[in-house]
Point group: C2
Chain length 198, copies 2
DNA sequence: CTGATTTTGAACCGATCCATCCAAAACTAT
DNA sequence: ATAGTTTTGGATGGATCGGTTCAAAATCAG
């Protein structure tokens, strides 16, 4: 066979993802990616083809790391549905207030990318839309279950409330990135939970 | 005296603002700015000093165009406070669903900039934070008035509810940019209003 | 009409952008 | 040990980046 790689592709992908996450697509240069991953240019291009492709894989990787556990939580039948959503929101808060390299949240790669690229990169938009549908479906299912259990207000359709919760999560992330402190973001989450209770 | 300009500085600024608004700071090149404004490079730099400075002025201009009318609405004592907020949210929806150059919303320059730059440009972050404080104050005042009138739920402080409404607005904008249709965004707004009613 | 002053367009600047190329190094299967 | 294959680092590519310079054009006061 041939010379084996001296690096781990998954670790490199994680490092690249973190770089895109912190600085966005445009502001992350290929040089930045080399430094973040510790690879040379040749290795980066040999492994990931292009900056765009590496970003696409970073998005997928992020979804795998973030959306999958969120879905698992939302489908956890051992918890009352409203409690699942409360925990989901608490995790979002935690996420925004840990790992703050420059004293500020780096937000959420999905939200960041919707804002930066959805309007002019149809491929990225499609990936994001698919991920969002999955999340909305899980949210809607949990909310529907909560409604049937009488634990969540029934005056609006589950799908609408799912959209609402999803939007509040995005709003919390924007607020945190804008400098809001932890108590302020927690209050947003708590108010959203209020809105779901009958 | 000397040769007068053949262009209107305010119109040029508006055009530049729109370019930044649609594509973000990094993705808007000085060449793009020349084409958007119709000016030559010399005129742009002679008038606005640098891309950064032009962006700063674009941010100010945007706040002037958007925040000022919103504040005026929130302080309109001829309307019941909750109605002011309902109208505010309706205007946000309208804003997201008109002027869609590529069939998608270009969002809100403030939200876009928080996401793109707040983490690594302290000057931009300061401008955004100041604008947000003004908006939160006006929102909080309207909500407080609504609470005293018994028209808005009093189980949370006005300031917290203001943060909540502000976050929902950001979430609506992200949702619209992510491809949500008008009914979906309106449902988010309606649910937020529900959360405010006693 | 002249002189002073500013705008304007085009050429130009070094730096950086993303990406490619190539030869040397490294490793494995034979 | 050798042949075959892949990785790797460094040099290099054209394009574009934000920004400057400069002379020609344009205007107004005198």
């Amino acid at each position: 066979m041939a010379r084996p790689r001296t690096f781990d592709e998954d670790r490199a992908l994680d490092a690249a993802m973190r770089a895109f996450w912190a600085n966005g697509y445009e502001a992350t240069s290929t040089q930045d990616l080399c430094e973040a991953t510790g690879l040379g240019r040749s290795s980066v291009y040999n492994t990931f083809s292009s900056k765009r492709e590496l970003f696409r894989r970073s998005l997928d990787r992020y979804n795998e790391l973030m959306t999958v556990p969120q879905i698992a939580l939302l489908e956890d039948r051992e918890l009352p549905p409203l409690e699942r959503i409360r925990i989901l929101l608490a995790r979002v808060v935690d996420g925004e207030f840990e790992n703050r390299p420059q004293g500020r949240s780096i937000g959420c790669l999905t939200v960041n990318t919707v804002v930066e690229l959805a309007g002019r990169d149809p491929e990225a938009a499609a990936v994001l839309e698919r991920d969002q549908e999955v999340r909305l479906a899980a949210l809607g299912a949990a909310i529907g279950a909560g409604q049937r259990a009488g634990e969540i207000a029934g005056r609006r359709e589950a799908g609408e409330l799912a959209r609402f919760v999803n939007a509040v999560i995005a709003g919390m992330r924007v607020a945190a990135k804008g400098g809001a402190d932890r108590a302020a973001v927690e209050a947003i989450a708590a108010t959203a939970v209020d809105a779901l209770t009958p």
